[in-house]
């Protein structure tokens, strides 16, 4: 009884707190509609300013938030609105330049006491805003489908015992991001940069979910996100034949992994990124056997230890992002609300301040940079210590390396460019040590398959050499390396990918060797040449070491081919093996096509690379100078 009384008292207290008090009469400005959406071609729309209060409202001025280029309205004569009265204001949008989208906010200054105060100005403001958007598209939400379908697969569980239905769900979850990525690539303007507006982001969807917390839904793409999204969607599609033969849990974890990775790539706010990150980690945990029971499950394969390490990385990421947010400058949300600190990753990259803050004598931005980089790369690196089958780990390395590189660039490099330049030699040294260590390990292998696996791991470090080479060619080569890694890893793990036998067939093995050892005409050759040429001005030693490592690996691979294996009986071509051969042929064609005609892939990230170099580095490369001269 006393419990019920206590509950009643608590509810009454809450109601009393929330109930509008007997305050005096006050005006209240309401904008209707609260959001105006324009076509990308431009146009005009009317917004009504209502006084819903019980006192006269003094309208003072109209303005736009800082990034509202293209929007305009008539001058507002300061006037008074009686309670219940409304004023119609026409807002016009005229597209400017190459900007396909526009986001902004109409700000109305009045004496509404509940209007928000702009922390950037000293005086007390009373502002209400209405979101403005032009050419907005929700297409990026297509990339969010896999986690939802994965949740459906997991929730349905054993009830979904119809195999064909499960396969259909899996196919939908894997192919929808691919179709979405292709659609986005078709509508993407590769030359669009920060100079043209929207911070270089295209095809975005930007909404404010909770203004008081600065919580937003912000998805969009730049050249990096689109290239990597396409890459991941293709890599997931290549796994479809093998995954279709798996149980519901395996299929769900694959969807979670790739869906989470897509979220990380296209989400532009810290909250969404961390959600995607966690989903991806859960998916990877499932692929490592973490959801299986028994001694062969999580503990037996080291999946739990992996998850622990990966969560430590996520903690580093989240903590560092929190500190970065605390040091961000005040900014306006997309509906005009101003916040003292933002979780918008794009704005965070252009507006944070650490000054001389230090922790135990170490500058704070250097510490954050290290935490962000380590947190982003830890899940991929920890795959080396897991005892799951090599094929599955190779396939897992594709999404984990891709999102790791994306998060490093988007968070560590973009948020803290000065720390990036200062700590670049350390990261280059680490990448070189990684590459040399695994090259030496590859040279000691006794079979070609082991050598190729180690060579692939060794080469992953060159991504950071390219990114820190500070030239267009270097950064493009780094992105090509990710594509090369995806193709090579899938080829090397083809039996796993195709759901076939454990041992690869000689033909697929040969194709993997050609790709990984940079046979001229395949993607690896062009990527290596571009990398060495790109990093040569700044990282000559790294260029020499990379070239030497590649030379040694080919030498070792040819040496191993002298050891002919014992002739084996020809195996009958089972259905999985036929799928493996078909997949291998397709991958070889793709690798060769990209090797002899790389330009379309490079074009996608052209604008991003320019922005990246100008944002992070101050160097110009030689070709830029030649261009400027003429």
């Amino acid at each position: 009884m006393s419990g019920r009384c206590g509950l009643a008292v608590a509810v009454a207290a809450l109601l009393a707190l929330g109930w509008p008090g007997a305050a005096g009469a006050a005006p209240r400005l309401v904008l209707s509609p609260p959001r105006l959406a324009f076509d990308s071609d431009g146009g005009a729309q009317v917004i009504r300013l209502h006084n819903r209060g019980d006192a006269p409202l003094q309208l003072k001025a109209l303005a736009f938030s800082a990034d509202s280029a293209g929007f305009s309205t008539e001058q507002l004569v300061p006037q008074q609105l009686a309670p219940g009265q409304a004023l119609a204001v026409t807002v016009t949008y005229a597209p400017s330049g190459r900007r396909p989208q526009a986001f902004g906010a109409l700000l109305v200054y009045s004496d509404d006491p509940e209007g928000f105060d702009d922390p950037r100005s000293e005086e007390r403001d009373y502002v209400r805003g209405a979101a403005l958007a032009a050419g907005e598209t929700a297409a990026t939400l297509g990339l969010w489908l896999p986690p939802l379908l994965a949740a459906g697969l997991l929730l349905a569980g054993r009830r979904l015992n119809r195999r064909w239905l499960q396969r259909c769900v899996l196919a939908l979850g894997i192919l929808s991001p691919l179709a979405t990525s292709l659609w986005l690539a078709w509508h993407f303007d590769p030359g669009f940069t920060v100079l043209q507006g929207n911070y270089g982001i295209q095809l975005g969807l930007h909404r404010v979910l909770w203004p008081a917390l600065g919580l937003e839904l912000w998805t969009g793409l730049d050249g990096l996100a689109l290239t990597l999204s396409l890459l991941l969607a293709t890599a997931a599609a290549l796994r479809l034949p093998g995954a279709a033969r798996e149980a519901g849990t395996g299929a769900a974890s694959l969807l979670l992994l790739h869906g989470g990775a897509q979220l990380v790539l296209c989400t532009l706010d810290a909250g969404g990124l961390l959600v995607g990150w966690e989903l991806g980690l859960l998916g990877a945990y499932g692929r490592l056997g973490g959801w299986e029971r028994g001694p062969a499950g999580a503990r037996g394969r080291g999946a739990r230890a992996w998850l622990l390490g990966a969560q430590l990385g996520a903690l580093l990421l989240g903590g560092a992002l929190g500190v970065a947010r605390a040091h961000s400058l005040a900014t306006a949300l997309v509906d005009g609300t101003t916040v003292a600190h933002t979780a918008d990753l794009v704005k965070l990259g252009y507006g944070n301040y650490f000054g001389d803050l230090a922790l135990h004598g170490v500058p704070l931005d250097r510490l954050l940079w290290a935490a962000l980089t380590l947190g982003a790369l830890l899940p991929g690196a920890l795959l080396l210590v897991v005892r799951t089958a090599v094929g599955e780990r190779l396939l897992l390395s594709v999404p984990l390396l891709t999102v790791g590189v994306s998060a490093t660039v988007r968070l560590a490099f973009y948020l803290l460019p000065q720390a990036t330049v200062a700590l670049a030699p350390w990261l280059v040294g680490a990448a070189l040590a990684w590459g040399l260590g695994f090259t030496l390990r590859a040279l000691r292998q006794r079979t070609l398959a082991q050598l190729l696996g180690a060579a692939l791991v060794a080469r992953a470090g060159t991504v950071f050499l390219g990114l820190l080479g500070a030239t267009q060619a270097g950064v493009q080569a780094a992105l090509l390396q990710l594509c090369h890694h995806a193709l090579a890893a899938t080829l090397l793990a083809l039996p796993t990918a195709a759901g076939g036998e454990r041992r690869p067939r000689p033909a697929t093995h040969l194709l993997a060797a050609l790709l990984i050892l940079d046979a001229p005409g395949m993607l690896g050759f062009g990527q290596r040449v571009l990398l060495v040429l790109g990093i040569f001005p700044g990282l000559r030693v790294a260029a020499g070491v990379t070239t030497l490592a590649s030379c040694l690996l080919t030498w070792a691979a040819l040496r191993l081919t002298l050891r002919r294996p014992a002739p084996s009986r020809p195996r009958p071509l089972s259905a999985p093996a036929a799928g493996e051969l078909a997949l291998g042929a397709g991958l070889a064609a793709l690798a060769t096509g990209l090797g002899v005609w790389t330009q379309p892939l490079l074009d996608l990230s052209h604008g991003f690379v320019s922005d990246f170099l100008s944002h992070v580095f101050t160097h110009l490369d030689a070709s830029t100078v030649a261009l400027l001269v003429h």
């Binding site: 571009l530 040429l533 040496r559 100078v625 030649a626």
Partner: protein
């Protein structure tokens, strides 16, 4: 580097504006047959790899002889007296496609052939055709592939394409050799690596240099374009300055447009003044390209020296039994000679083009 036929037209107009007395570099002429010189031996090698023992040597020999015939036709009808310049230094070009372009860095696939390269190719094709008769299927395929790689190394119009030819030649030469020794292979791979690094150094050296200052040893870009570019800025047909990997542009930048051997090549002079890591850039460039060519030739020589004993692939027993002993010795010698001559020709031709 040529970006499609537009590029050829531009270089053609450049050449045709010059009189015979004052040639602005070699006179270029498009030809669609260059790719045939490259493809015929490759086709022969593919047929040899996948067809029976009896057909293989004939297919490769046919490919090599066909390639030699086309080369001979090009020498006689296009590069020699039949050419538009009446026997002057004419070069045939065939741009194919562009792989990638990152700002001024362009990697394209195109072929070029001048008299010296044609003579080398002709000799190698005849040597290979003589050596291939009666050899095993796989070895015949390797021989065809090695000739195709050599043709790429001699006809590639960019340094990267030549590097691709060098790398293919390394593998094909290794497959062709009887011993398949690791030292010749290592030396040849070292040559490939050196060529890549030399190419990178040359590309960036044309637009800047490396300061020797201990305080600031970073790469420094030229504040002004090379003198040749300024001099030629008034004249429309001057090739664009700046870094390039295309052999014609490199030649033009290093030797200028005057064609007077006594005149000081301006970009070359600028290059000689530039600083590299610890030495003048020109010294580094000469050293690295020379080292690459020497290593390549050294790999071939080592292969020749270590070449003895039966081939490691499966021999065709019927051919081995039918073959007279002296003929076997001659053919083995021809294969060995090919193993030496192909890398030697690739290295020498590269140095000749960059001299």
């Amino acid at each position: 580097m040529f970006a499609g036929t537009e590029g050829v037209r531009r270089v053609m107009s450049l050449s045709s504006s010059s009189t015979l007395g004052s040639l602005a570099g070699p006179l270029l002429e498009p030809s669609g047959l260059l790719v045939v010189v490259l493809l015929l031996p490759v086709l022969g090698a593919l047929v040899a790899r996948w067809r029976g023992e009896g057909v293989a040597p004939r297919a490769v020999a046919a490919g090599l002889l066909g390639s030699a015939a086309v080369t001979a036709y090009l020498v006689g009808a296009r590069l020699g007296v039949g050419g538009p310049s009446g026997g002057a230094a004419v070069e045939l070009v065939q741009p194919l496609w562009r792989v990638l372009a990152v700002q001024r860095l362009e990697l394209a696939v195109g072929l070029c052939l001048d008299g010296s390269a044609a003579a080398l190719l002709l000799g190698l094709a005849l040597l290979g055709a003589g050596a291939v008769r009666g050899v095993a299927r796989r070895r015949a395929a390797w021989l065809g592939a090695a000739y195709g790689a050599t043709a790429l190394a001699l006809m590639g119009d960019t340094l990267v394409l030549r590097l691709a030819g060098w790398e293919l030649l390394t593998v094909a030469g290794w497959g062709l050799s009887a011993r398949r020794g690791l030292w010749p292979l290592g030396l040849a791979r070292a040559a490939d690596a050196t060529l890549l690094l030399a190419t990178a150094l040359l590309f960036w050296a044309l637009a800047g240099s490396w300061s020797s200052s201990r305080l600031d040893a970073r790469y420094q870009l030229d504040r002004s374009p090379p003198p040749a570019a300024l001099e030629g800025a008034g004249a429309a047909p001057e090739p664009a300055p700046g870094p390039s990997l295309e052999l014609h542009r490199l030649h033009h930048q290093l030797h200028g447009a005057s064609g007077d051997p006594a005149a000081l090549p301006p970009v070359r002079a600028a290059l000689a003044d530039k600083l590299g890591p610890g030495a003048r850039l020109l010294t580094w460039l000469v050293g690295l390209f020379g080292l690459a060519a020497a290593l390549k030739a050294g790999g071939g020589a080592l292969q020749l020296l270590s070449e003895r004993g039966p081939w490691k692939g499966r021999e065709a027993p019927s051919e081995r039994e039918e073959r007279p002993r002296w003929m076997g010795v001659v053919r083995a010698a021809a294969v060995r000679l090919f193993l030496l001559a192909a890398p030697l020709a690739a290295g020498w031709d590269l140095l000749r083009r960059l001299r």
